[in-house]
């Protein structure tokens, strides 16, 4: 398969970015999207090292920087806004699990970094998602020290509650929800953590404090408000639903009412 790629290039956080166009050919449909970028990068490295091409004025800004790690959809490191969708056109997958068979031969594919004020660009397609760490540091935990925990079966938890908690805990922290939101809101991300812990008796105890602290930190870091457009749940690679935002809102309101 052959593709035309329009890729966002940006040297670093301080410079302005622009699109550059590349061609890739002979790509197997079984190739993953990131493997296709590996192939392009191999091409760019070889060209950049080729004096003939460089003398001909080959405009080569070197290989394209993009984040990736596990390549099996669980670490949350990969990102990419592909043809207007975070993680591309397929549903319930991260970019690393997207395969070229989902595109048509000859397609032009536009690749951008996450677009959000909360995630400044580091280079090309790599952004800084440190804000997510900061939000979780504000309260995304249960205050328990190592050792001294009661027996794991001491507190039974209803299966449906544990399952729902797990649904929310499946969040990989990739940032697709923020990138797709016109308000740049991190509500789905925040609610996934708040909801997952609020559903468990262990997490219930400091639920109010957690909801307030995490929402306050999210606001402080410049993420927008939620206006219920539901884009986040449409694009979430892990199928996390806005019912968790409803639970976060309930936790937050109850906490505020008690203040």
């Amino acid at each position: 398969m052959n593709f035309t790629l329009k890729v966002w290039r940006q040297k670093n956080a301080k410079t302005k970015g622009h699109f550059e166009t590349y061609q890739v050919s002979n790509i197997s449909p079984d190739t993953s999207f990131l493997e296709m970028l590996d192939i392009l990068n191999d091409q760019l490295i070889s060209e950049g090292n080729d004096p003939v091409a460089v003398n001909k004025g080959c405009k080569n800004s070197g290989p394209i920087a993009f984040d990736h790690d596990c390549r099996e959809g669980i670490c949350g490191m990969c990102s990419l806004y592909i043809n207007g969708h975070p993680h591309g056109p397929d549903s319930l997958v991260t970019t690393c699990q997207l395969h070229m068979r989902k595109f048509k031969d000859g397609d032009t594919i536009t690749i951008e970094p996450w677009r959000s004020a909360g995630f400044p660009v580091i280079k090309d397609l790599v952004v800084n998602r440190g804000a997510f760490d900061q939000i979780l540091q504000a309260g995304g935990f249960i205050s328990v020290n190592t050792g001294g925990a009661p027996d794991a079966n001491a507190t039974p938890i209803a299966k449906d509650k544990a399952d729902e908690s797990m649904d929310a805990a499946a969040c990989v922290g990739c940032g697709a929800c923020v990138a797709t939101c016109k308000n740049g809101s991190a509500m789905l991300f925040v609610s996934a953590r708040v909801s997952s812990l609020a559903l468990l008796p262990q997490g219930k105890i400091e639920g109010a404090r957690r909801a307030k602290a995490m929402v306050a930190k999210m606001d402080e870091l410049g993420f927008g408000a939620c206006t219920n457009t539901q884009m986040c749940q449409m694009e979430c690679p892990k199928g996390i639903t806005i019912s968790h935002i409803a639970r976060l809102n309930r936790e937050f309101l109850c906490a505020k009412l008690k203040d």
Partner: protein
């Protein structure tokens, strides 16, 4: 035995060793802990749990990870579960049984005392994780559910769907976040350790590269904890994450830490087969699938032909023409034999020409009987995300057609040598989790990696490191303005400059792939003397090729993934050579290390307890120079090493 390799295993009955040892450890007062600095390299289950716990205790901790957040560490990809000897299923499990299964599963190449301690603290881990809010799978009564894993005849594996590693890591990461917020832990994401700084023979800091700016930085401490994971990516294609690497461990090796049992690499039987030359990594399908999936190839070669030509679908091959070879060869354990056994059995069938895909390197993992017995809904609830992942990658629906699987490199049992305190041969340098060698011997059982990472990090290292640090309370903050820091930083800068200056023709990846091919061919699932010698020669050539013909674009002082990969490849080349040397030396077959010269008539491993019941600990002598072998004898006081028998 050499003094350096003193395992410091305490005397006394097996079940009392850890308790007695803990009682003898000196403790550090809270006021003094505040003055002591600890560096932790890596934020997977080992690193995150250790850093969080050390922070809770009041030490000053600095953590370093190469990703943009501690939560990305590769522990997150562990699917199946975590073992513990809770005996919640009343199937007669116990600490002793978990210990015994683990030491037997490791083919009697690990220390009894370490493995027993691991089993002993396993129950505390489950308690701890539940308290942190890890949403483990539960039964309708609200209590925790279990499943079975290979090498065990009891159900002792706790799980959170097919994302157990993720949930455990998020638990440890949450504890870490709590400490970061409190200021006891400082986090350095996108920082890579490039060297260890030794002062007066002790580990006193690191040199790290800021991966965003390219800046080279110095960090001092009273102790350094290595939790940087394994070296499976030496093979290029593995189930490890793309950025997982052995460099931090190799820097320690170069600085004098012994490297133990490097040839023990685990080849996981159930991975999605390779599809082409452009492939960047292999994807694991959890071992938990072997609870309900049955592994088979056709009995008749003509069926194999038809399958390869796609004239027939697997589901159309009748029951009587299927060879469920694991059930046939190992009736007692069936599809749940340990990983090394299952991998070799798959290779044996494929070598005999029964591989079921075009490349001839695949076998079936079939859920038909389980779906008939339990219904698709149950199978979906158990493995839904794994089935989805399989379909996304292969475009085949595993509810209708069996999965195709083949073994792939997955985990490395070898690692930096540590004593019972998890201290390396360099005072003040500790190694935990997959980065050390200590608990899995020649083969790790499924669901034991998570157990070991968290055991080391939550319950063992925070105690044992106190013994060392209690002697450091009078030493002030380590200055980074010393000749040792100066020299180490200069060496790092020179190395990076040297790599940039080569300006050759080949990409880093192309050389890495070549290394991977050498490793898989000669230091892979089966090894022999001639092949290993050849591999060492080929790796020597490849080292020369790297240092004369690699091309790294861009600048050192910027975000530059190519230089990151190049620096790691320098170390992968040395690890590859080290693995081959170790495999050549170990003239026995045990666990994941199969020497063709040493097998039974049925093709099973033949261990040699007379000559090889030792840990091989290698000392660095220079890049490309044969390392020096030291031996730590393994004494079995409490169990008698026997031939592993999974047949009856």
């Amino acid at each position: 035995m050499e003094e350096k390799l003193n395992s410091k295993v305490p005397a006394g009955p097996l079940a009392e060793k850890w308790t007695k040892h803990k009682a003898a450890i000196k403790v550090v007062s809270p006021a003094n802990k505040r003055k002591l600095d600890i560096i932790v390299i890596g934020t997977g289950l080992g690193g995150a749990s250790a850093a969080a716990t050390l922070g809770e205790l009041g030490y000053n901790v600095k953590i370093f990870c190469i990703s943009d957040s501690p939560r990305r560490a590769h522990s997150i990809a562990a699917q199946g579960g975590i073992n513990a000897a809770k005996n919640y299923q009343n199937d007669n499990d116990s600490i002793y049984r978990l210990f015994y299964d683990t030491i037997k599963g490791g083919d009697y190449r690990s220390r009894e005392a370490n493995v027993y301690r691991l089993a002993e603290v396993s129950n505390l881990i489950i308690d701890q994780c539940v308290a942190q809010g890890v949403p483990f799978a539960r039964d309708y009564g609200g209590l925790l559910d279990n499943r079975s894993f290979g090498g065990a005849q009891v159900s002792r594996t706790f799980y959170a769907r097919g994302q157990t590693g993720q949930q455990l890591l998020l638990g440890a990461y949450a504890s870490l976040n709590r400490q970061i917020a409190k200021g006891t832990v400082k986090s350095y994401p996108r920082h890579e350790m490039l060297d260890l700084v030794i002062i007066n023979g002790e580990a006193r800091g690191i040199i790290a590269r800021d991966l965003v700016t390219g800046e080279i930085k110095r960090f001092g401490a009273h102790a350094v904890v290595l939790a940087s994971g394994g070296y499976g990516n030496t093979y290029f294609l593995s189930t490890n994450a793309m950025n997982s690497n052995g460099s931090a461990a190799m820097q320690c090796f170069r600085k004098g830490a012994y490297f133990a049992n490097p040839c023990f690499a685990q080849i996981h039987p159930t991975c999605i087969p390779k599809h082409g030359e452009q492939q960047s990594k292999l994807t694991l399908m959890s071992e938990s699938l072997r609870n309900d999936g049955r592994i088979w190839v056709p009995k008749k070669l003509e069926d194999v032909e038809r399958l390869r030509k796609r004239q027939v679908k697997a589901s159309q091959i009748p029951e009587e023409d299927r060879d469920y070879y694991l059930e046939r060869r190992y009736p007692a354990f069936g599809n749940l034999v340990p990983r090394d056994v299952a991998s070799r059995a798959a290779k044996e069938r494929c070598d005999a020409g029964f591989g079921v895909n075009e490349t001839g390197l695949a076998v079936f993992l079939d859920f038909r009987s389980a779906i008939e017995r339990l219904g698709q809904k149950t199978i979906e609830a158990r493995y839904g995300n794994l089935f989805q992942m399989y379909e996304k990658i292969t475009d085949v629906n595993p509810y209708e057609e069996p999965m195709m699987i083949y073994p792939a490199i997955h985990y490395t049992m070898g690692g930096i040598w540590v004593d019972y305190n998890l201290q390396t041969t360099i005072p003040g340098l500790y190694a935990i989790g997959e980065a050390n060698f200590s608990d899995h011997g020649g083969n790790r059982l499924g669901a034991s990696a998570l157990m070991q990472g968290l055991a080391d990090g939550y319950f063992i290292l925070p105690y044992t490191i106190g013994d060392y640090l209690s002697h450091k309370i009078k030493e002030s903050k380590q200055s980074t303005d010393t000749p040792e820091f100066e020299a180490t930083e200069k060496a790092v800068r020179d190395k990076i400059a040297k790599i940039f200056a080569i300006k050759g023709k080949r990409t880093v990846d192309s050389i890495h792939k070549e290394l991977g091919n050498i490793m898989w061919e000669y230091v892979g699932m089966s090894r022999n003397e001639a092949g290993l010698k050849k591999a060492i020669g080929l790796i020597d050539d490849l080292r020369k090729e790297f240092w004369s013909n690699v091309y790294v674009p861009g600048e050192p002082g910027e975000f530059n993934p190519e230089i990151e990969k190049a620096v790691r490849l320098v170390d992968f080349i040395e690890i590859g050579s080290l693995m081959a040397h170790d495999a050549l030396n170990r003239q026995e077959s045990c666990g994941g290390h199969f020497r063709e010269e040493m097998q039974t008539e049925e093709g099973e491993t033949k261990r040699d307890d007379v000559n090889y019941a030792y840990v091989s600990a290698w000392e660095y002598k220079g890049d490309g120079v044969t390392p020096e072998l030291h031996k730590e004898p393994l004494n079995f006081e409490f169990v008698t090493p026997s031939t592993r028998n999974y047949k009856d």
